[in-house]
């Protein structure tokens, strides 16, 4: 009976790779380059505990466990406004919606923009969860390939010049997942110009923007935007803590209002305890301090992995060295299917994520893998890369 009662979009949901790697989290005896998750050992646990205790002792203590408003905690929004201001982004209270992680932002925006068959642009490869949210609303997805400095603007313009209307482009301009690529400043400006010319929105997702290990940050698209075309997504998950599921959308007031209406029907409100805890952590300077603390931590893992890749991966493989974020994106020789490599790697207790699900057309590249260095203990990185390198070097048609 079930099958005949399901919606058509269920066919678009069969993307279980996130689940697969989520389920690899916490298996102790495996070297995991799989989940794009922060290192639990660097969370400021003691400080969080003190803040929680002091919040609970305040007269507002019970409100930590009560429903809050759909739009989100006023205190948290105030902190986010000050956080954005330091990054040269101006926003008012009505231009912010608190979301249950920035994954929910992707769902809500897809909900308010996409009818089945509507066209959407994505960077290719791009974040699997973003693609998943967009796909689950039955969009027609066009991927724009990446160069070392971000999406190929010429290809984008070519696509736009065909005259078909696109609702938005979704991209992670800083140290993208999985590519590690950063969109250059000239390309940011060019993208904004195209958005103006062809009338589409830009969804700028920024989970890794703070995790910039070498250079000064580049201006956010939102900072450069003079026409209200950029919808900016932020999250505390990568540079602070993910387990409270708190993110936000910053955008045009009417978009925020509609996304808020969608949120009402989706989960009513984000959890109060997490919102207040993050707000007070922000007020006390703990978040900015944590950003300073995690950057050298992840940078040394990035470098450790880079050195190990140079040492153990054969010439037939290639990658760009990222300047931030959590990931290396590796191209294998075409005769090695990443799914079969993963099988072999798991037999040797090493995990990673195959590349297919990050592609606009998942069938187009069977020879990519994403290696995350963020959550792998420094001392295991070389061992894990060595094991992978040896399997690749000695590849026979397993």
């Amino acid at each position: 009976m079930l099958k005949e009662l399901l919606s058509r979009r269920v066919e678009c949901l069969n993307n279980s790779e996130i689940s697969e790697f989520m389920s690899l989290i916490g298996q102790g005896d495996i070297i995991s380059f799989a989940g794009g998750i922060p290192d639990r050992n660097i969370f400021p646990l003691k400080e969080l505990r003190e803040l929680l205790n002091s919040l609970m002792a305040e007269p507002g203590g019970p409100d930590l466990f009560q429903y809050g408003s759909t739009e989100g905690s006023g205190r948290l929004k105030e902190y986010i406004i000050s956080f954005l201001k330091k990054r040269n982004i101006k926003a008012s209270d009505e231009e912010i919606l608190i979301t249950t992680g920035s994954q929910q932002a992707l769902d809500l925006l897809s909900k308010i923009f996409i009818d089945p068959g509507d066209r959407v642009l994505v960077e290719n490869p791009g974040y699997v969860g973003g693609l998943g949210a967009i796909r689950s609303y039955q969009a027609d997805i066009t991927g724009i390939n990446l160069a070392e400095d971000g999406i190929e603007i010429d290809l984008l313009e070519e696509e736009l010049a065909k005259g078909r209307r696109f609702k938005f482009i979704y991209l992670v301009p800083d140290f993208s997942n999985p590519s590690g690529i950063r969109l250059s400043l000239p390309k940011r400006k060019a993208l904004l110009e195209l958005a103006g010319k062809y009338g589409f929105y830009i969804i700028e997702d920024t989970p890794y923007s703070e995790l910039n290990y070498y250079n000064e940050p580049l201006s956010a698209l939102k900072e450069l935007d003079t026409e209200g075309r950029v919808i900016y997504l932020g999250t505390f998950s990568k540079f602070f803590i993910p387990g409270l599921r708190i993110g936000w959308i910053c955008g045009d007031r009417e978009i925020i209002r509609l996304a808020g209406l969608a949120k009402q029907n989706t989960d009513l409100t984000s959890n109060s305890l997490g919102q207040e805890l993050i707000a007070v952590a922000g007020e006390k300077g703990l978040i900015e301090a944590q950003i300073k603390r995690v950057k050298p931590h992840y940078r040394s893992r990035l470098e450790e992995m880079g050195q190990a890749l140079e040492k153990y991966f054969p010439k037939s493989t290639s990658w760009l060295v990222p300047k931030g974020g959590f990931f290396y994106w590796i191209r294998l020789p075409e005769y090695i299917e990443s799914r079969r490599l993963l099988k072999k790697a798991l037999e040797n207790r090493v995990a990673f994520v195959t590349g297919n699900s990050f592609l606009a057309n998942p069938e187009e590249g069977n020879n990519y893998l994403r290696l995350s260095f963020s959550n792998c203990p420094q001392e295991d990185i070389e061992t894990g890369i060595k094991i992978l390198g040896e399997i690749i070097t000695n590849w026979q048609d397993f």
Copy 2:
């Protein structure tokens, strides 16, 4: 530009009455019968604080702030299985999905079942958030009116006999929101029989099932179901605490798998801190103790409101006295529009929710209101009802 880029479902989202009453929460100088929310003053704050501190001191402390699996915390699912078992409902780990409140359950199930134009049955009046979730997937909603003992089975059968296919019926069988009505045991059996005969699912939402102030509980539809037709939704929000946003779906393994895939794209995972805190509160007996504690608390508010209604509301109004839950559903004489009554009431610092948004066809009844007694201090109930009663009694065409 925005308008032409929005999805068609945005037209189904313009239901801001939840927002309206959410925004009335916390205005100190108003007597509010609006939000269907628990009393913050009865939350077991001291115990929650102790549990949080001990959780954070465990070796798993950092995991409270880390991503968890999409399906939900194993520890919490184990507690939920034991909770359900006490209520004569058998479930295995793979038949449970943790959700971000039971509002998310409604969203996920709508996502996997509803294509635009699909037919869905609801009790009428019914929970506004359930209607909102279903509407946002552009379903064609048919309301089945309520008698004192639940939906009119004859009307339901008449509707079904027309031969159109319905995907599911959504209802709150125990002390429904807003009606306060409980579905009788014979009607539960009749409903299950019809679901079998006509091939549709039953979404049984149970937020108020524990808040049964006088009688023994009735068997859940899920308990009576022998064919896997019932999808059971649970939440800790009403009898324990809502602010952590933790609920669950218990259903057929394949439905749980698909809802889990939908959840992945929707918010990835529910917050870890809340899941673990509720799990440990359950293990330590705090949740069952809290249920025992809140029942007399809310019962005395229910009775206080009942007495005040008898005393101050004119004969031209009518209501049923609920035996559980949080609400009185009041019928006004037809010449009083509840929206205009609300305006007058707010001028006199009393709030409630107008009835329209709870109706399958919101235009069909302008003379209903929902009064919630759960979150109004006992000593304010009579005052508030007296003010409302006087406005109604002295109604002129304001």
